[in-house]
């Protein structure tokens, strides 16, 4: 600001500014951390308290007044949740907002009490369930299934290939290299001479996803000697990548896109994507050794045949349900099916919120089950009965 001699004073001013700014920001930061610890997460602290206690004094005749339920979590659940939310507002006048942020982030927001409920592909692990025993209810609300899509120009329309869990595990491990491998032909005797001598490209999700978690859990359950426990999870260190025949696609869209444009590839996606993208889906050899195509009926058969030993209360431990549902018995059962869950607390301090949640649970387990978006399947009678118990369990109290 002042000619030549001002150089040092300029520097001094800068240093002073920086120091002041630094101390400000450190203070701000710790303040934020503090808030995070007491109220919720960093991003939504301000809304946290208001969301959980929002009631308008001038409540209408509805028992939940003007409460808006907020939820966050699995992106897989999102399209169904949006549809339900729209219909709920129209029919009973209850407003529900759902943020599609991923199972992990959704749980985080739920446990920090930023949202009323969470959507999650996997149920709570045994450890987490014990930690929150009696306090958190888990409700399976939709049935999902994972299908194998493939792109083999030689296989004519109307005929589909059949895959066993061993074959898929060996493909994703990189051990089966060509489509005319003897182990594939053994499962598809009628495709001998049709399947070409071409290298298999195995497509998987590159982002972390519940779909991967279900698919790898299935491989581990059905073929434990080929697919080890270490290869199960939301993201997996795919062995087939190391041999140069594996590729990742981002999201269900990414995987379908790669399979569509890459001859001799196969990949796993949620059923709804296979339907909308019109890709051929493989039949899978189930526990009884029968090749089954994924249809509403075969998926429902699987759920029916595997849920004889379901937990009988939303407060129970559901962590064993996924492995139990995979590769279930029954000649007409499609082997890769799973639930997606919502988590709710047993107690909320606000009566209106509790009333709103009761209506929400009642509605999605009755009318809501008739409003499924294509690719999603309704839960069975049995599961609905268990879910509806949550209405009685919910109560006002605690903090």
């Amino acid at each position: 600001m002042s000619g030549d001699g001002g150089k040092s004073s300029k520097a001094l001013t800068l240093v002073l500014l920086a120091l002041v700014a630094a101390s400000f920001s450190v203070a701000m930061y710790f303040q934020a951390l503090n808030l995070m610890r007491t109220a919720g997460t960093s991003t939504t602290t301000s809304t946290a308290s208001s969301v959980l206690t929002s009631t308008s004094p001038a409540a209408t005749t509805r028992p939940w007044g003007s409460v808006t339920l907020s939820g966050a979590g699995a992106s897989f659940l999102a399209p169904q949740m949006f549809e339900w939310s729209r219909a709920l507002t129209e029919t009973v006048g209850l407003r529900v907002e759902y943020q599609s942020v991923g199972s992990g982030a959704g749980r985080d927001m739920f446990f920090n009490k930023v949202v009323h409920f969470a959507g999650s592909d996997p149920p709570l692990s045994r450890e987490l369930h014990e930690q929150y025993a009696g306090g958190v209810m888990q409700l399976p609300v939709v049935v999902g299934s994972v299908v194998i899509v493939y792109n083999i120009p030689e296989v004519p329309e109307g005929r589909s290939i059949c895959l066993s869990s061993d074959v898929m595990a060996l493909i994703y491990r990189g051990d089966i290299r060509y489509w005319d491998d003897q182990r594939i032909l053994d499962v598809n005797p009628d495709l001998r001479g049709v399947l070409p001598h071409q290298e298999i490209v195995a497509v998987h999700r590159s982002d972390s996803s519940g779909t991967t978690s279900v698919f790898t859990a299935y491989l581990n359950k059905a073929s434990p000697e080929v697919w080890s426990k270490g290869l199960v999870g939301f993201t997996v260190d795919w062995p087939v990548d190391a041999v140069g025949r594996g590729v990742g696609g981002k999201g269900n869209e990414g995987v379908t896109q790669v399979v569509k444009t890459t001859p001799y590839s196969l990949g796993y996606v949620e059923l709804s994507y296979a339907i909308t993208q019109r890709l051929p889906t493989a039949a899978l050899r189930n526990a009884e050794g029968v090749c089954v195509k994924p249809t509403d009926q075969t998926v429902l058969n699987a759920v029916r045949n595997s849920t004889a030993f379901l937990p009988q209360s939303p407060l129970d431990d559901w962590s064993n349900v996924l492995p139990q549902m995979l590769n279930p018995p029954g000649r007409d059962s499609y082997p890769i099916v799973s639930f997606s869950y919502i988590f709710i607390y047993r107690t909320y301090p606000d009566r209106a919120v509790v009333e709103a949640l009761r209506e929400f649970i009642r509605w999605i387990n009755t009318e809501g089950q008739e409003r499924m978006v294509p690719g999603y399947l309704p839960i069975t009678e049995e599961v609905r009965r268990v879910n509806l118990k949550a209405i009685e369990l919910l109560e006002v109290g605690g903090t």
Binding site: T13, A21, G102, F234, T235, D237, A242, G248, Q257, T261
Partner: protein
């Protein structure tokens, strides 16, 4: 500032909080990144930089992460993108400043500026849906077949999602930025140089060639700034690079950059103990590199400006 007149002083002190706020906000971001990354640095140490695995597990004892692949991938892809963008930018600068008639040049400049303002997801989608299958069939496969003995062409192109595709799309998105910088720098050269050269009977090309020589430090600085910008680009890369945790030199291979890793793993990172801190560690690394490179670039521009205006 102590000697400022009173009215200036009032203005200065009333805007001071805003200035400190901006600086403070910036420092907070850096501090936040480092603080969140700390558990990962403590747990994995140097392994975080030299190994490349992404193996989350429910049991924290079995979690292993290494950022070598995405970190190298970031540098590699950004460097390639800058390399592709530079000739395009120089060509655009030449044609808009020397060759084209004024109104056509103005139009072209506007188009380039609009290109720079497009949402990056547009480039990303075009790259993944249109460019990648095309590049695979008509560029990558022939290159691999005829020049496969070179390490950078040695791997088999499978899907088209690769280092090459990402770099090319990234280059198209970076070109407007670098071009704007270059045009600005070119305009900064005092007219006397150009007049001097023209009076010797030089052609337009010769003028440009000589002035470009004069501009060299500025060109390098612009590339550094372009590189730093490409380093942080997320959407384009996540849609075109193939997202595989695998270090590679071959440009037909899919790999990861740090932004694409964060974009694809963030959703469920909170399910695991060390996944989120590791993503923050990657972010911090990127922040450090980006700050360093930008600083050098900006410093070069200032030095050059001081030298040219004597």
């Amino acid at each position: 500032m102590i000697f400022l007149p009173k009215s200036d002083k009032v203005v200065f002190y009333s805007i001071l909080p805003l200035v400190i706020g901006v600086l403070g906000f910036f420092i907070t971001v850096g501090f936040f990144m480092l603080h969140q990354a700390l558990p990962s640095f403590m747990r994995f140490g140097v392994d975080l930089l030299v190994s490349s695995v992404w193996s989350p597990a429910e049991d924290p004892g079995r979690e292993v992460y290494g950022l070598a692949a995405p970190f190298l991938g970031s540098l590699y892809v950004s460097a390639l993108a800058t390399l592709f963008a530079l000739p395009l930018s120089v060509a655009l600068t030449f044609s808009t400043t020397e060759i084209l008639p004024r109104h056509v040049a103005g139009l072209l400049r506007n188009v380039v500026e609009v290109m720079g303002g497009l949402p990056t997801v547009v480039y990303g989608l075009w790259g993944s849906l249109v460019l990648s299958p095309y590049l695979r069939d008509s560029v990558m496969k022939p290159l691999h077949n005829y020049l496969g003995f070179l390490p950078i062409f040695s791997c088999r192109p499978i899907t088209g999602y690769s280092v090459l595709t990402a770099s090319i799309v990234l280059a198209t998105a970076t070109t407007p930025y670098v071009t704007a910088l270059l045009i600005e720098g070119y305009g900064m050269i005092p007219a006397k140089y150009k007049e001097g050269i023209l009076s010797l009977g030089a052609t337009r090309y010769e003028v440009f060639k000589l002035l470009l020589g004069l501009l060299r430090p500025y060109v390098i600085a612009s590339s550094l700034l372009g590189f730093s910008r490409a380093l942080g680009e997320t959407t384009i890369v996540a849609l075109t690079i193939g997202n595989a945790v695998k270090p590679t030199l071959c440009i037909f291979d899919p790999t990861h950059t740090i932004p694409s890793l964060i974009a694809s793993q963030f959703e469920s990172a909170r399910l695991y103990t060390y996944a989120l801190p590791t993503l923050f560690a990657g972010g911090s690394l990127l922040l450090a590199v980006s700050l360093g490179v930008s600083y050098v670039g900006i410093k070069m521009i200032y030095t050059w400006r001081g030298r040219i205006h004597v």
